[in-house]
C-alpha cells in the first residue's frame, strides 16, 4: 500500500484571545462557565439587535495573517453564511468569503514552505448537547459569537506526522503572537483535515474531509486511518467518494457524516449590517511594530547565543519557556547554554513531575539566574544546585539558601591542604593503592569531600591529592 502517497490540507480554527466577543461586549472567554450565562441580545440574535466589529479581534487576526506572510487587502468584508442550526442563533454565521483578512501566506516546516491559502475572521457557534436517551437537545450559547480565526492550508502536507508538526507550529506561532491560547483541550484550536491519496506524480485524488478532531493526536490517527482506507479502496481499483466524515474517538475510525449531495448551499452574501473595513498602511505599520518575535527567529537567536540546536528549538516553540528564558538571560551573567540546560532540563522536569507550570510555580528568572551563576562561579557544585532546586522553585533565594545552610564550596587550597594531609595520614593503605593505580585516587577524594561536609570542590581536591602523593 506504500505505493500511494497521501495529500493533506488542514482547516484550522483558532479562538482569538480577546476580552470580548467578535460582535458584542460579552466576554470571549467562557470556558467552564455555567451554560448561557455570557450572552446578550446581540449574540442571542434577538430581533432588532445589530453586530459591531471588535477591533481588537481584527488586530489579532491581521497580526497572525501578517506573520504568515499573507497579503492583506486594502478592504476586507464580512459575509453571511446561511444555514439552519440551533447553535447559530441567527441561523447564519457572520464570516468572510471573497474578501478575507489575508491570502497566500506560508509556514516553514522542516525547511519547506507549506502554503496558507487564506485567513479569515468569523464568529463561533454555540455548543449543542444531546443528553443520552433524552427526547430533547440542549444549547449553550456562551461560545456563540466568540471570535475565531480560520486558516486554510494548501494541500502541501504529505504525512500524518507532518500534519501534527504543522499544528504544533501553528500553536507556537499563535501563542508567541498572543493571538490565541491555541489550546486544543479547551477547544481554542480546532482542526479539520482534507485528505486524499494518489500514486506519486499522479494528479490529486478525490479528497474527503474529516471533522470532530479534538486533539493533535486525533488528527494524526484520523489521517493514518483514512490513508489506509483510501489506499485499500484504490488498490482494489475502487474509487473514493467525496464525503464529509467524522472521527470516532472511541472506535478510532472515521464515519460518514454527509455526502457531497447533502452539502448545504450557504448562500453567502455581504452582511449589510457591517460596512467593509478599510485597512490602511498606518494600521499595518502599527501591527508590524507590535508583533512579537516569532518562534523561528527566536530559535535562530538562541543558536546565535551558543545554545545547542535541539534545546534552542525546544525553548523557542514554547512561549512560556522562551519568555522565561529571555528574562533569565537578562539578569544572568552565566552562559546561555547553561541557563537553557537548566530550564529545558531539571526545571521543566521538576515542574512536570509536580504538576506545576512556570506560571503557577514561584520560580523567578532572577532566582534561576542566581542559581546558575553560583554553579558557574564554582560557589556550589551542580549536585548541590540540584538539591536546592525544589526550594528555589518554591520561591526561595538560592543565595540565601547557600548562606544559611553554609553550602559554599571550600576553594581555599591551604584550608583544604590540612584536611587532605589528615586523610592521607589516616589511610596509608589507600595511599599505597593510589600510588599503584591512579583510579584509586577516587577513594581518597571521596573521604576528603566527606570530611568537608560536601563543600570541597572536587577538582581542587583531586589536584591536591595528586600533588601530595608526588
Amino acid at each position: 500500500m506504500s505505493e500511494f502517497e497521501p495529500v493533506i490540507g488542514l482547516e484550522v480554527h483558532l479562538a482569538l484571545s480577546t476580552k470580548s466577543k467578535m460582535f458584542c461586549g460579552c466576554p470571549a472567554e467562557t470556558f467552564g462557565s455555567a451554560p448561557n450565562t455570557h450572552t446578550c441580545p446581540v449574540c442571542l440574535g434577538l430581533p432588532g439587535s445589530l453586530p459591531t466589529i471588535n477591533r481588537a479581534a481584527f488586530d489579532k487576526a491581521l497580526m497572525f495573517a501578517l506573520a504568515l506572510g499573507c497579503s492583506v487587502p486594502e478592504r476586507t468584508q464580512f459575509h453571511r453564511k446561511n444555514y439552519f442550526y440551533p447553535d447559530a442563533p441567527k441561523n447564519y454565521q457572520i464570516s468572510q468569503y471573497d474578501h478575507p483578512v489575508g491570502e497566500h501566506g506560508f509556514i516553514e516546516l522542516g525547511g519547506r514552505r507549506v502554503g496558507v491559502t487564506r485567513c479569515h475572521v468569523e464568529e463561533d457557534a454555540g455548543r449543542s448537547q444531546h443528553p443520552l436517551y433524552a427526547p430533547y437537545s440542549l444549547v449553550d450559547l456562551n461560545r456563540a459569537g466568540a471570535p475565531l480565526l480560520e486558516m486554510v492550508t494548501e494541500p502541501d502536507l504529505r504525512t500524518p506526522e507532518e500534519a501534527r508538526e504543522f499544528l504544533n507550529k501553528v500553536r507556537a506561532i499563535a501563542r508567541a503572537l498572543g493571538v490565541s491560547d491555541a489550546n486544543p483541550e479547551e477547544g481554542k484550536l480546532r482542526a479539520d483535515v482534507n485528505v486524499s491519496v494518489r500514486r506519486p506524480g499522479a494528479p490529486f485524488g478525490t479528497k474527503v474531509e474529516v471533522k470532530n478532531l479534538n486533539s493533535f493526536r486525533s488528527v494524526q490517527r484520523a489521517l493514518e486511518f483514512e490513508i489506509k482506507r483510501q489506499s485499500r479502496i484504490l488498490a482494489d481499483s475502487g474509487s473514493v467518494r467525496q464525503d464529509t466524515l467524522g472521527w470516532d474517538e472511541g472506535g478510532q475510525k472515521t464515519y460518514l457524516m454527509r455526502t457531497k449531495e447533502g452539502e448545504a448551499d450557504y448562500r453567502y452574501f455581504p452582511d449589510p449590517d457591517l460596512p467593509p473595513v478599510r485597512i490602511d498602511a498606518a494600521w499595518l505599520e502599527r501591527l508590524r511594530a507590535d508583533t512579537p518575535e516569532l518562534p523561528d527567529a527566536k530559535e535562530a537567536r538562541y543558536v546565535g547565543l551558543g545554545v545547542r540546536a535541539d534545546t534552542a528549538a525546544l525553548l523557542a516553540y514554547d512561549t512560556e519557556l522562551s519568555s522565561f528564558f529571555d528574562r533569565t538571560l537578562k539578569t544572568s551573567g552565566g552562559n546561555a547554554q547553561a541557563v537553557a540546560n537548566w530550564l529545558g532540563g531539571d526545571v521543566t522536569g521538576y515542574l512536570n513531575a509536580n504538576g506545576l507550570t512556570l506560571e503557577t510555580s514561584k520560580l523567578t528568572p532572577e532566582h534561576l539566574a542566581r542559581l546558575v551563576d553560583l554553579v558557574e562561579r564554582g560557589t556550589i557544585s551542580g549536585k548541590v544546585a540540584k538539591e536546592l532546586l525544589p526550594d528555589v522553585i518554591g520561591g526561595a533565594s538560592p543565595e540565601a539558601l547557600v548562606r544559611v545552610r553554609g553550602l559554599e564550596q571550600v576553594t581555599d587550597a591551604s584550608a583544604l591542604g590540612s584536611v587532605v594531609d589528615a586523610v592521607l595520614a589516616e589511610n596509608p593503605k589507600l595511599v599505597d593503592e593510589a600510588k599503584a593505580n591512579p583510579k584509586a585516587v577516587n577513594a581518597l577524594l571521596g573521604r576528603v569531600i566527606k570530611s568537608t561536609g560536601g563543600k570541597a570542590k572536587p577538582e581542587l581536591v583531586r589536584e591536591l591529592i595528586v600533588q601530595k602523593l608526588g
Binding site: G48, P135, F269
Partner: protein
C-alpha cells in the same frame, strides 16, 4: 395624553394599533409633576407618539405584525425610541403594519388590516399603515415608521400627512426588526414640518450599536427659508402615463406652487429608474431571507410541533405556520436569488442596477437641488382590491429609488386625487441634504395653510 389614548380607543375600528400602552398616562402625570416643580423638560415633553410595531420597546410586546412574534417582549428599546423618550415623548401604542414591513397596504398583518381614516373602505398604505392612520386621525402628532422601499412615504401619501425617510445611516437601526438592512431607515410621520424637524433632531446622531450609523448626522441648519432659486428636477420617467389623472393633477398643482414660491422646475432623466422596482424586489427579499431566518421557534418566536419531531421539523413547521403568504413568497424569492448558480444572474445584477441608479441620481443632482416625483402612481385603493402581488409591487416604483441610492426623501401632502382621497408628492435630495427636504416641505406647508394635512375625523 388621556385624550390621545381615548381617541386611540375610540378609533379601534381603524386597526391602527396592535398594542396600547396604558402606562403612558402615568408617565404623563410624572412629567406634569416635574414641570410643576420647575424642572426643564425635553423638547418633546409630554408629546404622545405612536411607534410602528417592528421597533423594539422595552417591556412592551413587539410583534412586527407577525404571528411569529406574538409572545416577544423585548428587554431593550430601539435607539430611536430611547432618544424620543429621552426628549420627553411618551409612547402610547405600537402600530399596525404589514408583517415584517412586507407590503404596501397594511393588509399583510397577522392582526388584521389597518384602515384609511379618510375613508375606512380604503387602505392606509403600508407597511407603516398604522402609524400613518394614527397621525392622520389626529391620535398622535408624531409617529415612527420604517421605510425600506417607501413604507413611510407611501402611507403618508395615502393618508395626507408628511412622511420622511432620512439619509441612510442618519437614524440608528438598532432595535429595528430587520427586513432589508441595506435599504431600510426609520422614518417619521407628522402633520407639520416643525414636528417632523423636532423629532428628527432629537433622534439624529451616531449610535455605537449600529455599524452603519453615520459618524456625524445630516446638518439641519438649512431647514428653513424660502425656495427662491431652488432648482427642482421633475423625473421624466416617473411623471407621465403611469400615474392616475388625480395624481397628475396634484403634480401640476405642486409644480405651480413651487414656481410661485420662487423655485425653478425642470425635467430630468433617471434612465435606470424603470428597473428600480425589479432590483428592489431582489435585494430586499434576499436580505430578508437571511434576516428572518432567526424566527425558527427555538427561543422566542412561535413554536409548533412536539420536541420528538426533531429540531429540523419543529423549525420547518414553526416557520410555515407563523409566516403569512407574502413573507413566505419573499423568503422564497430571496433564497432563490442568493442560491449558488443564480447569485450573479439575480442578486449580482440587482446590485449593479442599484449602482446605476445611484449614478443616475448623482448626475441629476449636479443640475438640480431636489428631484420631484409623485409618491405613488395612485391614491389609496380599496381593501382587497389588489389581489395580484405584482400590481402592488409596481406601486412602489417612485419610492424604491431613494432606498436603493440611500438618499433622503419626503412625501409632502399635495391635496386630493381620486375619490377625494389625499395624495402626496415626493422630493428627494442628495445624501446628507435632509435639510433641503424640510425646507421644501415647510414652504409648501406655509403655502397650503390649514388645508395642508387636515385631521381626518370621519372615522369616529
Amino acid at each position: 395624553m388621556r385624550e390621545a389614548l381615548a381617541r386611540a380607543e375610540a378609533a379601534e375600528g381603524l386597526g391602527a394599533f396592535i398594542t396600547l400602552v396604558p402606562e403612558a398616562l402615568e408617565k404623563a402625570r410624572t412629567l406634569d409633576v416635574r414641570r410643576a416643580a420647575g424642572e426643564t423638560l425635553g423638547p418633546l415633553a409630554g408629546v404622545p407618539v405612536a411607534v410602528k410595531d417592528n421597533l423594539c420597546t422595552a417591556g412592551v410586546l413587539t410583534t412586527a405584525g407577525s404571528k411569529s412574534l406574538t409572545g416577544f417582549v423585548p428587554p431593550y428599546s430601539a435607539t430611536v425610541v430611547e432618544r424620543l423618550e429621552a426628549a420627553g415623548a411618551i409612547v402610547i401604542g405600537k402600530t399596525n403594519l404589514d408583517e415584517f414591513g412586507m407590503g404596501s397596504s397594511n393588509e399583510n398583518s397577522a392582526f388584521g388590516p389597518a384602515r384609511n381614516p379618510h375613508n375606512p373602505d380604503f387602505v392606509p398604505g403600508g407597511s407603516s399603515g398604522g402609524s400613518a392612520a394614527a397621525v392622520a386621525a389626529g391620535i398622535t402628532p408624531l409617529a415612527l415608521g420604517t421605510d425600506t422601499g417607501g413604507s413611510v412615504r407611501q402611507p403618508a401619501s395615502f393618508t395626507g400627512v408628511l412622511g420622511f425617510k432620512p439619509t441612510y445611516g442618519a437614524l440608528s437601526r438598532y432595535g429595528v426588526i430587520a427586513f432589508a438592512s441595506s435599504l431600510e431607515q426609520v422614518g417619521v410621520l407628522a402633520r407639520s414640518t416643525r414636528d417632523l424637524e423636532l423629532a428628527l433632531s432629537v433622534m439624529f446622531g451616531h449610535d455605537p450599536h449600529d455599524a452603519t450609523s453615520l459618524a456625524s448626522p445630516p446638518d439641519l441648519t438649512g431647514a428653513h427659508g424660502d425656495l427662491t432659486g431652488v432648482r427642482v428636477g421633475k423625473v421624466r420617467e416617473l411623471c407621465g402615463d403611469g400615474n392616475s389623472e388625480g395624481v397628475l393633477g396634484a403634480l401640476a398643482r405642486t409644480e405651480a406652487t413651487l414656481k410661485a414660491l420662487g423655485a425653478t422646475v425642470g425635467e430630468v432623466s433617471l434612465p435606470h429608474a424603470p428597473y428600480g422596482t425589479a432590483a428592489y424586489y431582489l435585494v430586499a427579499p434576499a436580505e430578508a431571507s437571511s434576516n428572518l431566518a432567526r424566527f425558527d421557534g427555538m427561543v422566542y418566536s412561535y413554536r409548533s410541533g412536539e420536541d420528538r419531531l426533531g429540531q429540523a421539523e419543529v423549525m420547518r413547521r414553526s416557520r410555515g405556520e407563523s409566516f403569512g403568504p407574502e413573507v413566505r413568497r419573499r423568503i422564497l424569492t430571496g433564497t432563490y436569488a442568493l442560491s449558488a448558480g443564480y447569485y450573479d444572474a439575480y442578486y449580482g445584477k440587482a446590485l449593479k442596477v442599484r449602482r446605476l441608479i445611484a449614478g443616475d441620481m448623482a448626475r441629476a443632482f449636479t443640475s438640480y437641488d431636489l428631484l420631484l416625483t409623485p409618491t405613488a402612481p395612485t391614491a389609496a385603493y380599496r381593501l382587497s382590491e389588489k389581489g395580484d402581488p405584482l400590481a402592488v409591487y409596481m406601486g412602489d416604483v417612485d419610492t424604491v429609488l431613494a432606498n436603493l441610492a440611500g438618499v433622503p426623501a419626503v412625501s409632502v401632502p399635495a391635496g386630493t386625487a381620486e375619490e377625494g382621497l389625499p395624495c402626496g408628492m415626493q422630493f428627494m435630495a442628495p445624501a446628507l441634504q435632509d435639510a433641503r427636504l424640510l425646507r421644501v416641505a415647510g414652504a409648501l406647508e406655509a403655502a397650503a395653510g390649514k388645508s395642508f394635512a387636515p385631521v381626518a375625523a370621519d372615522f369616529l
